[in-house]
Amino acid sequence: MGTSVYLFSGGQLRRKDNTLVFESPDGTKYLPVENIQEIYLFGEVDLTKSLLEFCSQKEILLHIFNSEYEYYMGTFYPREHLNAGHVTVKQVEYYLDPQRRLDLARRFVEGAARNMLQVLKYYRNRGKKVEGHLERIQELEGKIPETAEVPALMALEGNIREQYYRAFDAIVLQEDFQFDRRTRRPPENHLNTLISFGNSLLYSAVLRETYKTHLDPRIGYLHTSNYRRFSLNLDVAEIFKPILVDRLIFTVLGKKMITRRDFDAKLEGIYLKESGRKVFVSEWERRLGTTIRHRSIGREVSYRRLIRLELYKVEKHVVEGEEYRPFVAQW
């Protein structure tokens, strides 16, 4: 399986014969192209057309972050190489039928809520005061089947997540990382910055796995497809945010691997400095590589693979009518 490359500094990324080379003030780095599946560009990087052609040919995704503020800008998604018209048609069929679309969207919200509850239960068992939030989420979760339209479901999902994030203060217990309220573009405090950064890494990871299936990432069910941006990856990411991103945040804060010193306050908002990004990304890679025992497949699979399996389940839901049941962590 291919690897991910993270380029933090600025420089020039180009094709050199049959390989990739990154030239930066820190030196020249050759990137073995056959193994790479995606490249994250955080710094101010110059790209050439021949590089893009080469990446497309080698099926490499380029995730681009605004170099000053670390916003996720977008992904260079190479020409589809696994085309299966039948799957696309089925995906659209489920999107266009309001009941089927709502049904799938509810499953994503349901899975997300269940995983949030798992995270909170874990901390409740460790004596953190999250009981109230937990109960309110359970209450809200009960209303998912009552939603009659996707926008109402989205709003409910927002309420659930709000309750969930409010529990973070009781888990993190650090003055420097109070939740306050969810802000993005730009995130207005340190915790929000970590949530945004983590979520954008997750969106890109799901996108990369989508590329390996026959699904079209533009057709989402909870998040509206407007044919300009990817939305299916946002849907599937909901399932994994609590168990991959949020747990990672608790780890790096609990172990003081990231502290207030790793942030910069800029004109608008708070940003992770390179030091903080590097720590976060290396922990992220470690987490994606962590394996768990998968019962029906009968062997160990990594979390990265688990994302792919989730997409396969969505594919089977639309193509074969086999009901999609979201992954829920067992601990």
């Binding site: 039948h86 497949i297 399996l309 989730e310 193509v319």
Partner: protein, 167 residues
């Protein structure tokens, strides 16, 4: 897919051990490309072809190698292992029938380069009936709107659809 069901030799081969795989393949729902065996298969296909010989298209099938051996036309099918040779034999027989329909008499050959194994395949009247029957069954399967549900068979263990089927 509604307009015409395109049967080719590879589908016949899949069908002999896993009808579900044949259905998925017929919809271009290709298996996991990162799978080790898929990578090896692709490599064998690209690199183990005898020099100067190319794939030949007959109907909807692509024949690996076609050559002339002291006057007889020989169709070769290259496989990675002997595990599915029974199905591979059906695949070659299907090619021989397709060729005969076009007035070409040929013989077949199965090659497993990894195991240095070569096996001759000659079309008999009995085979002919059997293949035609199989193709009819396959046609009926592919007309279905959804694939047959996954069934655990020994091949699942190394199949590149394993994760798709059992996720």
């Amino acid at each position: 897919m509604e307009d015409e069901i395109r049967i080719n030799g590879t589908l016949v081969w899949y069908y002999t051990f896993c009808p579900r795989e044949a259905w998925l393949m017929s919809r271009q729902m290709t298996p996991d490309e990162d799978d080790e065996n898929v990578v090896i298969g692709r490599f064998l296909h690209e690199n183990r072809q005898p020099r100067g010989r190319k794939e030949v298209e007959v109907g909807h099938s692509k024949l690996d190698v076609v050559r002339r051996d002291s006057g007889t036309l020989v169709v070769t099918e290259v496989k990675k292992s002997r595990h599915s040779l029974k199905g591979a034999r059906m695949q070659v027989l299907f090619y021989l029938i397709e060729l005969r329909k076009r007035g070409i008499e040929a013989e077949g050959e199965l090659v497993v380069p990894e195991e240095r194994k070569v096996e001759r395949v000659v079309l008999t009247q009995e085979d002919r009936v059997k293949i035609e029957q199989t193709v009819e069954e396959l046609r009926a399967l592919l007309r279905r709107a959804t694939p047959p549900p996954p069934k655990r068979i020994p091949a699942c263990k190394r199949c590149a659809y394993g994760e798709y089927c059992w996720a």
